[in-house]
Symmetry: D2
Subunit: 179 residues, 4 copies
């Protein structure tokens, strides 16, 4: 179960999600710097390159690609006046109680377990400068979904780094039973 | 925090979600019968009227309304050829690994706690006859989101009945400390 | 389905969860003040009494009671040296990647939909003074679960206030169709 | 953020979770057969060995190890009369509305995205023979957590196989843009 029961061929999503984000003008560099700033205190040997690799890894996950594709499509169509009402108005007004944007983002955060959760909530609440820099600011844009999606990507990339750092510490430590 | 920071007035969603489902041809009677069939073995004095009331209660929750509004709008626009590619094709082909439909449905299920979860998975997997009867079958339709949404509404309504039955038993029982 | 299939009587949990928190020395007053501080900017007519009522409402939900009961029991038994190893050591060291505490807290946060999520993450990350004041600080204590549980209770209470404020605005606004 | 801020060394969990399950008498063979039975219709070239490898992969994930460790410790201590009341009684009676067991299992299911969700709900509801065979049946045992954990491990293993089969199909298919 849990597959395509029709046997239809799954076509590639060959970087579609990343291409969509690029089309929206999303700049990944500030996101990579944000991951670095957040994780450096806990992973002393962290490099920008490791952060970039983690962000890339998150964005290439299938469930993340589908979440990005869905959210960005909704943002774009609302912005261009092609989304049906009343959903279009709700997205344009970024109603805080809408919640579907956050639910979608949560499916990205969960990709590396619950530890991305606090980071996501913090980023969603504090909106650090890097998140703003990642998005183009010109003109009346609708970023209801992409706002939360970028925070979720950063949170998941941080979680991945945390897990890998713990893996490295475990590999270097004697097994628990040997204490 | 966590509110509309702009102070913009929140307009009503006066039955918008229910109206959208009605426009899609969704018949609530089979859903009510399904809730009854699933819960009757555990709640002997259950009536169809109580099941109808629980389904109504679920559908009127704000987060459920927003989930319905988003999912049904995506289904309709994909069906009518007005949704951007490649999302439209993904919805039309109902790709099992898409997952966003399930994530959205989960936000409905969670409204009454984790106990709706097993019901939802079971309904999503088994697709009992009542779920099919609730949807119009004529013509090439896109029901990717509404399929999961109806299963989620039934699961949440079952969970609400289970909680209320437990409340009634608790009210009738001596307190735990008195044993 | 989704009920007690055995027909066993559900005994009351008559304030057991609240009693357990009281036994742990948890002071609800700082939590109520924290809810007030966080929500006042968005709900101008908010009173401390409304915040206290929301916190009480959250704590009395069945799934919240069970989460509190489970988490506090684990904390207490780890603290008193009665929990099996290696779980006891993991709780005493409050390992960040443990995550089960956060998963449990999430089930509390979700009680009022996804909007509590950002608040929870923010509180979990920032640990404002009120959260510390709510817990007794004397001696070597294990607060791995209760830390996250208190943040979750505050986040859920904030979400409930946000939803009720939106309800009030909706009741006062003309219906969307009338625009 | 999101790491062990204290710099304490993370000791290994060297197969602790698997060892705990073995101590409980859990037999992985029926679980592997269940994964095979569920996925074979959708992945024609599936082998038992691939199913065993997927189950092993799930069990070795850090968040899964912590979930197993927590749930099994609670089951064992409740069974042996060493868990504090009233939690011990709640676990022994397997109260359906308890829900914490399901919340913990969900954190396992989510490891491979939302597609494991339906499988988990189905397994939790239907309890196929293989799940019963995986657990020892002798004497009065408490399996409140382990019941859901095993269903979650199977669901996550199925999800992993589904994702990998889709990856293989994608690698063999021409890119979407080339149609």
């Amino acid at each position: 179960m849990s597959q395509d029961r029709t046997g239809r061929t799954h076509k590639r999503l060959p970087g579609t999600a990343r291409a969509l984000l690029a089309l929206r003008g999303v700049d990944f560099d500030p996101l990579v710097r944000l991951v670095f700033r957040l994780q450096k205190p806990y992973v002393p040997d962290l490099t920008l390159e490791m952060c970039r690799e983690s962000v890339d890894h998150v964005v290439e996950k299938r469930e993340v690609q589908y979440a990005i594709l869905t959210g960005v499509t909704l943002d774009v169509m609302a912005e261009e006046g092609r989304l049906d009402e009343p959903l279009a108005t709700i997205l344009r007004e970024e109603r805080e109680l809408y919640g579907v944007d956050r639910v979608l983002a949560l499916s990205i955060v969960n990709v590396y377990g619950s530890i991305g959760l606090s980071n996501f909530g913090y980023l969603d609440e504090e909106r650090p400068a890097e998140l703003l820099q990642a998005l183009p600011g010109d003109g009346p844009r609708v970023h209801t979904f992409v706002d939360d999606i970028l925070a979720a990507i950063v949170a998941a990339a941080c979680a991945r780094i945390a897990h890998r750092a713990a893996d490295a510490r475990q590999a270097a430590a004697p097994p628990e039973g040997a204490r």
